[in-house]
């Protein structure tokens, strides 16, 4: 089966010369759910922007659906349109993604841009409003919404495109616990529907629930490890090394504990005490 994405020795530097990615290689199969784990500023967002054809590698290559993803190709309206129809990106900053006057316009933007009729776009808006629990907010301007609501609208506006591949950049940021549960369940549903999901996050608590495979990026902008969620999350040395967890010291009476600590990482106290 042709991989959806094939990245080969991809590096990227910003125009100011600041490196964001170094020699990253991996592939994504159809229907896979991948989590890209990494600390802040390790290059996760840049990687998703590259996979969405918004920017292009400084060196190395990316193939999407068997074709090389490059600037010339994405400047051809028909080819770009086909790619945009198949791949959707939910940005980390919902504020950047919401540029239409109302929630309804925001969700309709993508489908209309891709040539759907007004009736079809309106139908998708209705479906997304219901799916994302945004009823009553349809006519509100996005800037009046809470952080969590903005995130939901941003997600709905991309899901309205019905993409085969969904790229999610820190999707749990700004979400309260109930909305986070909603999101995890939504992603589980999309996984069951065999959508390809690529999620960049440093939130370890959602990894086991949404990932088939985990890629770990280091602060040196390189890919450090790849494996199933259980293997990666059990490797505390690796997680410490890439700054996804930290060592935490606290006391229980006279007993002082020192152990790894991070988002969604539980720990026991039975045998870890030292005085």
């Amino acid at each position: 089966m042709t991989p959806i994405f094939e990245l080969s020795e991809v590096s990227y530097s910003y125009p100011e010369g600041q490196g964001a990615l170094e020699g990253v290689s991996f592939s994504v199969s159809p229907g896979e759910s991948i989590v890209i784990l990494g600390a802040n500023a390790c290059g996760k967002s840049t990687l998703l922007h590259l996979m969405d054809g918004l920017i292009f590698p400084t060196s190395g290559s990316i193939r999407a659906f068997g074709e090389r993803l490059e600037a010339g190709r994405m400047e051809t309206p028909a080819l770009a349109g086909e790619f945009r129809r198949r791949v959707g990106l939910v940005f980390q900053e919902a504020e950047a993604q919401l540029f239409c006057p109302t929630v309804k316009d925001e969700i309709a933007f993508g489908p209309l841009q891709l040539g759907l009729s007004q009736a079809e776009a309106a139908k998708r808006v209705e479906e997304m409003i219901a799916l994302s629990d945004l009823s009553g907010l349809e006519d509100r301007p996005a800037y009046t919404l809470s952080g969590g609501e903005k995130k939901k609208v941003a997600l709905a506006s991309v899901l309205a495109l019905e993409p085969e591949v969904l790229l999610l950049d820190e999707p749990t940021g700004d979400l309260d616990p109930r909305s986070q549960t909603w999101l995890v369940e939504l992603l589980a549903g999309l996984r069951a529907a065999e959508k390809t999901l690529i999620t960049a996050t440093h939130d370890l608590s959602i990894v086991e629930e949404i990932a088939d495979r985990v890629l770990v990026m280091g602060e040196d902008h390189r890919l450090w490890a790849e494996g199933d969620p259980h293997t990666i999350l059990s490797n505390l040395d690796l997680l410490l090394e890439v700054n996804l967890i930290h060592e935490h010291t606290h006391a229980h009476g006279e007993i002082r504990h020192r152990h790894p600590h991070g988002h969604g990482l539980s720990h026991g106290h039975e045998d870890s005490g030292d005085r």
């Binding site: 922007h49 990106l89 940005f91 540029f99 841009q113 007004q118």
Partner: protein, 277 residues
Amino acid sequence: MRHILRTQEAFVRFAQEALFAERWARAPHFLQSLDVRIKLAGLAAVLVTISLIHGLFGLGAMAAAALGLALVSGLGARGLRHPLWWAGPGFAILISLPAIFNLFSPGKAALILLPHPFFAVTYPGLEIAGRLVLRVTASVWWAGAVLLSSRWERVLAALRSMRIPALFVFALAMAYRYLFLFVRLSEKGLYARRSRALLPASAATERGLIGVKVASLFRRSFALATKVHEAMISRGFTGEYRTLEGFRLRARDVGWGVVILLFCAGIWLLDRSGGLG
């Protein structure tokens, strides 16, 4: 120092009121019910007419018509407090003020301010200034009535349907988005500054901080505007604006177009014949 902070707050409030005015465009009133294309075409005809009229009464009639339209379209009271209504005329008054004096507009004195050296407000000066202020006021008020009663996305889509080049419409859309982000960031910057202001700063320090803030705002809003552009591209934007509702020309839209054309032609002919004084 306090007045510098107040000036910043006033600027942010002004920009917010100017940009976030979508609620009027959604109100169920007369102008809001018309096809945006007809409204824009009518506005173009009105602006051309205003530029051709010389008489003060003709210009005043155009401004009064805009005001009347705004009132029947629910833009009265709160709507008329929108900066669009007073900022343009206010600025025109400010820049035309020197023209009323005999130094720039010699002629019969309307009001002598100083006999020696002679310094007075003159009739020709008042006419020149009045013409400028009324022309600006009429233009801005008509534009205000049309734009405040139209949703921004519909305006962009209408411009494209009227064969305005995609690049121009795109630049307009991005400029609006840029201003939007600029205002949001200004507001946040203002609060951040206030929350960390432990002691009152000197006026010089405040001015310095404003300079730093302007530079930082420019960089931040530019970075965010780039992300907005990427988000638009990511969802298939190619420069064409499409909206959920299509354009449909109804009898009332055509009627409005005819009324506007007749009104413009009538005012222009009366002005030319001297019928408006």
